[in-house]
Symmetry: C2
Subunit: 361 residues, 2 copies
């Protein structure tokens, strides 16, 4: 049942550089059908939240450059619900902007925040968790995050530690946020049982989150607050362009949630992946008898096992003597990297940016 | 000094499949500037023989499909000196065809046969050897090959064993031709001192080679001989198309030279490579401090050593954790193969042909 005061903000400004060279500055992975299922990741996200939220209450926030992708891939989205950022920022400023905009429409809005480029399976459980989250969000000043029960000691995810008071309730008080841990610490987290993966999916009332901004990121709050009259007017885009260079580039987790004492996490068991790396994708796609995951037209393998190979276009390949590698080819770039080093790809791409400039990404 | 009865035939019909995916059925390596020196391999060959042979005496023989490449890359070549074959054959039929054609022009022609896709350095020595070869060719019925003093126990080359009678003379009587040997045998060849690399470069009088065809490949000889009147006439191409399917696909080495007893080899020391494999190319091009040979615009290496990387077009690459590999990328295909397995590439490409058909090569 979709309620008129339920809103959703799809965050679509990321670059996904660990997915280079498919995900690039000029076309990030949310605009690709990276799983080859017939829909791009943002289309999948849109269809998923449309089950819960009225079309006119769905917002997308992304970089100005990606406006054409959104129009093309989400033609149903009301044009005024597309919020454009002039710079690559981080999640805090995106969420602040969207919150000020939604507040104009409904002071009692309950907002679901979702990344545009994640994979969710077992959607029925996802919807059940969200109903619970929306209920909790109106019961008080609650900032609600969804935490996924970890299935392995993943070092690529952030973790949320919860206070284990009431074992029966899936809604837990948050004790701490922890950034990507080492393998050893991730193992401890897994076995301790009171750490969950931070899904980056949040639910709260617009009032609650704006109060939290005022308290924990007061400068950012003030900057938006001073231009309140321009948001929703014809001057909105000019205003946004003028303030964005002054805003702090910080994530909502660091900027707000870590500092707040009214954060809750819902212990969730639906299938979730941030599709953050090629190795994660490897787990999601079919593999041949040698364990090679092949996304592409035609590859012959010789003494090659457990590789992930993604070749865009009608590309033929011969791969000999390679085990446990990531091999990605596009018309513009090639990546060959050991799977165990996939977390480094972001750094490599950064080196490339330094050497060649943004346009080569 | 170029003599009016010195002729040259450039053999340009090969596919160079060990150089896949740069060298393909649709554009073989002789038509690429694979060394990035500013001239394609066939252009380098042409310029080289032009020092020795009058322009009107230079012939090129290749497959019909490559006619446009020859016109484009060798605009100086007289059109009537381009001989076109309707099928991919081997060297014997190409040389027979060219010999019958040249005989029409000059019954006393001395002919230099050169592959179109080899690298030659120290050209002064090359020219000196050829002067010697041309002299020897007119002293009798001599079939002359150039043999290169081996510099390593190469298993990718054919060898020529000579009879060591007169140590002072560089012209030796040939004892045997040996196809690509094993590593162990190649080592023995190297240390024995009486084996040379078979360069595939030959010199002989047209009369001598046609006599040799008559004796050792009589069917092939007869087929051409019966249509003698058509060669050089307007019917030539129709005649060639009609006989080619019936001709034996055999190399000049197997079909003629191994059987003949009037074969000589000139002990040669000029720099020579058949550029037959990526590994050979690796030896010819500059390398960075990690031993990576890079032909392409921009590649970042991380924990990667002694690789040969060739990326066509303005392609960016990140290569991590790879040692001693061949990595070749074109717009249509990708090859990743250990250098030690480069001789297998031909077989892999053949598998690809079986699976996908010629058009994918």
């Amino acid at each position: 049942m979709r309620r008129v005061n339920h809103y959703c903000v799809i965050l679509a400004g990321g670059v996904g550089s660990r997915f280079w060279p498919v995900s690039t500055r000029s076309c990030p992975k949310q605009f690709y059908d990276i799983l080859e299922v017939g829909k791009t990741l943002i289309q999948q996200t849109f269809v998923r939240v449309f089950e819960l939220v009225l079309l006119e209450n769905i917002f997308v926030i992304t970089h100005e450059d990606y406006e054409p992708f959104v129009y093309e891939q989400l033609p149903e989205l009301p044009k005024s619900n597309l919020l454009l950022e002039p710079f690559m920022m981080n999640t805090a400023s995106s969420i602040a902007y969207a919150s000020f905009r939604i507040q104009l429409r409904d002071k009692n809005a309950s907002i679901l925040i979702v990344p545009s480029d994640h994979l969710i399976t077992e959607e029925k459980q996802f919807y059940e968790v969200l109903q619970l989250a929306f209920r909790k969000a109106v019961q008080g000043e609650h900032l609600i995050t969804l935490g996924i029960k970890p299935r392995r000691p993943d070092t690529g995810y952030g973790y949320i530690q919860f206070v284990s008071e009431d074992h029966a309730s899936p809604i837990k008080k948050v004790k701490a946020f922890v950034e990507k841990p080492s393998r050893e610490i991730a193992r401890e987290f897994l076995y301790s049982g009171d750490f969950l993966w931070n899904s980056g999916i949040f639910v709260w009332n617009v009032r609650t989150i704006l109060n939290a901004f005022r308290k924990h990121l007061p400068e950012m709050y003030e900057t938006f607050y001073r231009g309140k009259g321009k948001i929703g007017s014809e001057e909105e885009q000019t205003f946004i362009r003028s303030i964005f260079p002054t805003l702090q580039r910080i994530s909502i987790d660091y900027g707000v949630l870590e500092k707040a004492d009214n954060v809750y996490v819902i212990f969730s068991r639906f299938g979730w992946s941030d599709l953050g790396t090629w190795g994660v994708l490897y787990d999601k796609v079919p593999k041949d008898t040698s364990g090679n995951a092949l996304m592409g037209k035609k590859v012959l393998f010789y003494e090659a096992q457990n590789n992930i190979v993604y070749l865009k276009g009608d590309k033929t390949a011969i791969i000999e003597g390679l085990n446990d590698y990531i091999v990605i080819g596009t018309s513009k770039a090639l990546l060959i990297c050991r799977k165990e080093k996939e977390q480094e790809i972001k750094r490599f791409v950064n080196d490339l940016k330094i050497e060649r400039g943004e346009e080569f990404l």
